[in-house]
Symmetry: T
Subunit: 144 residues, 12 copies
């Protein structure tokens, strides 16, 4: 069985650390990748960490996970709130899947309080900054 956790990041997450640090913190996406990798390693997993601004790429990668990954962690960024394509893709994966967000999306604009994918993942973790990812790695490790 695969020991790889796919960690997929959606649009504008590559700007982390430079974009609205008051909301998203000062860590870069590279920092988060490194932290995920360390926690995963400690728990016997490795991590395939990706980012794209294209909704279609995220769909492609979730489909790829069906073949190659043990679990999916996804921060779909802005697509969280509108993408039915991601909903359908995640519904088709037969493995632990966790939705994460850095910020507390319920303390922000109304349009960020709707997630099209929550209903089709195992569980959701948000509001803990980059630590949301670490908790997600622990969650999928525990589930596997």
């Amino acid at each position: 069985m695969s020991k790889t956790i796919f960690v997929l990041n959606g649009p504008n997450l590559n700007l982390l650390g430079t974009r609205e640090p008051a909301v998203y913190g000062s860590q870069s996406l590279n920092d988060i990748e490194r932290d995920c990798r360390e926690t995963a390693k400690e728990l016997g997993f490795d991590v395939d960490f990706r980012q794209s601004n294209h909704e279609g790429d995220l769909v492609d990668w979730i489909q790829e996970a069906r073949e190659k990954a043990a679990a999916v962690i996804i921060n779909a960024g802005a697509y969280t709130h509108t993408s039915i394509a991601l909903h359908d893709a995640l519904r088709s994966v037969d493995m632990p899947a966790v939705e994460v967000h850095l910020s507390n999306i319920h303390a922000r604009e109304a349009f960020r309080q709707v997630s099209t994918i929550s209903a089709v993942v195992t569980g959701t973790i948000f509001g803990f900054g980059s630590h949301s990812y670490i908790l997600a790695v622990r969650a999928v490790a525990a589930a596997l």
Copy 2:
């Protein structure tokens, strides 16, 4: 005049046969392509059959159809319910265009009962499984 029917398929339809067969049937997208091709041939047409998880690809292809195709059949998958870009692209084609769905989208979740493209196609056919495509080929053949 072109004798080619573009049959365009949206996100996650490449998973057909493996994804929720209770809803979508056990045929693969290849099976559907073969059936379309046979019916089209019998009626004097050929078929250009494509699939993508990217909304932009579907828009590109509809624009391409303006030049190269006699008609468009589209199963826009999840983009059916949200894409205004597809609406605009389809509104610009001056040829028969048919929206198809495998499942009866009105017997499913509320968000699948809204189509942004129905208003700008010639007609819509859904609920007959892969046979929806065959009926669509017949419909465009009759219209041409």
Copy 3:
């Protein structure tokens, strides 16, 4: 097993050919009956073709179909958008049932874009003028 397809038509469809030909075409309901009969015959079926302005008649006929018909094709006209009685009647039939419309109901007023019966039929075909009926006959023949 019965070889009869009930083709049921709702309110004002008897005016076809005289009422708003720009929307509904110039064919009369008699023309459509004749076309359905020919296609059905070719496929080994016959057709029982009826029209009424009374919602209750349509309910009675669907119940009658449970006993006498192999399949039901219904253009419920204006009752499409409000009738729960038709919804319940169609839900009780254990045979292929197809909803048809002449016009593209999604390119018209908002109140015509809601169908109470779509969720309980096998599939739906609309927008192809009188050809919608022919496709429906083919659809039920293929299903039987």
Copy 4:
């Protein structure tokens, strides 16, 4: 040209005079028929005055008016608020058509403030008790 005005009355209007006189007045439907007839006669028209509790009957009669009447006056009663079949039937008539109500429907429950037929008649008169009918007879006479 026909000199007959069809005056069509919907469900429960046969109870006039006995049902909630505070709202609908103490005149019976016969009284109203007599008043309409007199005003029409004075203006050179006669009146075909009917009532039914069946939506389908009202549709049948409007279709009949296309052949036999010079104008239609309709108090569709409760069907005013829900019937798309009446909307479609009235849209197909090519003559003056007036919607009337005895009571001021905008001073009553919210569900009585919606009319599916107002958009497809020539004009609407309500709130004047049985005098609404007399004004409607004058209105169609003036239009003819």
Copy 5:
């Protein structure tokens, strides 16, 4: 004073016992009529038990009840959720009137959780299968 209770049944209730027994139970409408008759008899009443798929028939019968009945029990079936004509007819009766449903309409689809007639009957009983009718007979007997 009349000792007759009108028990009026709306569309598709004649299919009871054959239609979705998991929802509506296995008793036929004849069984329910017999049970009502027995309970009524025991309490000194008789029962006039009717069914129609036509909204207009139900309106006619409620008007007839004004003359001939001591009370009305009505299961308006699908018309429960949309009929203002029934609302108006029931509002005009000056006697106990009870709305019944076999199933728990609040544990079903959203559109079945709206009743246009609840506001104008004495009371409502639902969810007890055919026993809902028996309780209604007891309720009107107690009220008379």
Copy 6:
């Protein structure tokens, strides 16, 4: 008792005859005033005919009518759809009050289908062009 009917006209009605004649007809407001005056005279009344683009003027005039008029006919134009001040003013008058519109406001934009004043007038007449005013004069004459 006063024999004067106040006929009050709201914003932009002074443009009648020049503004969108397809919707509002080719008669000027002066023509309508003359017609009202003639009909009123024939029925034993005279007319005080006014127009203003200011909501406050209309409120002032309705208050003035409480002292000086026998009845009020009002075409509040655009203020029809939003003015609670007119609603309150009309609610305070203790005489016949009729709302008129030239066009069929229910065949136009959704925002024109809401009237804040219908609930507080005696009755409403719309869709008959300038003849709506004549019918209104007749209606108030009959009521007085």
Copy 7:
């Protein structure tokens, strides 16, 4: 098996007889308790009759019913319209449960026409004044 029926009453029901008698009748809660007890006794059951203004007490008592009662009859008063805690508690009981109301809640304010618990009880009875409780006792007795 327990022969005790829990009859639970929510906020302000202790004021019965003194609070708005036009709506709730002149019987006190003690009168209703006595009537329930008599009917239950006649049918071989006894009654544990309670009232509280605290939502938490009602939840506690429904949980207690899981251990000690044969059935639950509940008039949750104002909590009927907002309490998900009661919904969850009632969903966990594995015995007949009946929702009752004294008044016809559908003939009152809109906020009283929503019940959070109807979907999770066996059935609902309302509008018969204190007799609603008696019918409920009969309903649970018949079900047991």
Copy 8:
């Protein structure tokens, strides 16, 4: 500084293990308490674990946490979806606060997809069964 984490549980959570195990799992609340205690101990904290069916108790306890606790973890059960009192109480605490749910509340009824408290906690974790609590303990430990 306090080393105690308050873990507060709302209505019906005391039924865990017996109520709908398909949704909530087979662990009892005691099992969860034990697991929390172990993880907390390992991280240098202890746990004060409570449950109540009373909204007021939860408010009282959150206020108590302001004095005595280092952090709050709360599964407010049904009160999650309606309680503004909990929102206000949590807004007043100046320490890490985590909302947890056992089930994936976004894969359930619409009314469970609204949380009044998400906006005022540090973060939210749901869908991991009893493991949601463990992750919450880790989250607050990391934050302190």
Copy 9:
């Protein structure tokens, strides 16, 4: 510093005492002016008391208050529910501002339960009849 309190009254308030005394009381606006003047005098202020049916006048006067007044008390009448111009004007004043209403606007029609100005005044007082004004005078005196 100015010792003048502007007390501004909107449309139809000049009718007080004659218009719906059951709702608005029998005091005239002059009576209220006198009472305000007395209370203000007692507290060391004088009053500039005005009324207009014109929204623009109220805006003009609020702007004038910026120069000349110590505080503003406003009963905007019907404009309370729709005027953004008043909202903007009040937002620009840098002094105590109090919204008053004679009647309990929350016990009346839904459209009277929305105030566009509440958010930009210091506070709001309603339901105490003419005493609402006295309390407002006391409130601004205390604030100054």
Copy 10:
């Protein structure tokens, strides 16, 4: 007749002075109690001042007021926005009742702009900080 005014305070108001002083001011609830007591004394009344986080306690106390109090002043805190139980309790009291709030609830979140109790109190005062209570004491004193 009783000379006692019940002043009832809802959830989290015991935190006044420590919780969000920018919104609620720096006075403690004790300070407000003292001020109410002084003003009441001066006007010949005494005050029974209470606070609870339990909705049921507030209902109990309002019922108690029916026996013991001359008037009720209530700041229901968060329960203001959701409690129908308080609505019903207040509707049953036959004495002056005033709703107060410290802050301007209309300048805050949307959910704080709805009050379930405004419609059933005599009047409402909000936005004046602790002075809202003083004005309320004056208001009930004037009414008694």
Copy 11:
């Protein structure tokens, strides 16, 4: 042909420079008038620049523009969001008309994001502070 551009300003715009400079900038309306005049002059036009707090004045002026102006630039201030009278007036002008706003109305309250007049002007420019007016002058000059 006229060379005059009417520049019309609605309520509270006369306060520019003193009211919320953070939102509206520090320029006065006189400054904007001067800038408009200069740009217009440079392009061969002159400017008639007006301001009123009265909706009716704006309607009067737009009607006047039909006679005297070459184009209309309008900042309707608060009336932008509610005035159908302005909508109707602008619809009647047969010349370039531009809607301007100083601030970015879409970055502000929801009620400022609705414009009743956008649909009937040539185009809209907002968010550039006083420069919005300059761009509008250029836009109408280019169009003429």
Copy 12:
């Protein structure tokens, strides 16, 4: 500092000149590019003009603008109405950004009247055909 203005065009704008010229004008996108370039040059800037049917490309390019551009002008086409990814990307740019549209989007379908990006750009210009772009170039030049 960069002197380059990014002018970014969304889906289907490459069809300009051929698609619905009545709505979008007869100019091609090349014509618009040429006009922008000329105006920019005149004002001392150059233009990087791009078009894509892919939402992700537009996001990539806005991110690229953060490094390379002095300002961004964007006509996001159909993505204007749904894209939160563009909203987030534009929010992260620290330079003038202008939203443009060729047509008056408020005179078209309701779904085109919502823009997800207006709130995060400097300002918006629409309705002037290709001249909207020229005005935008002037606007950013003035801002820089």
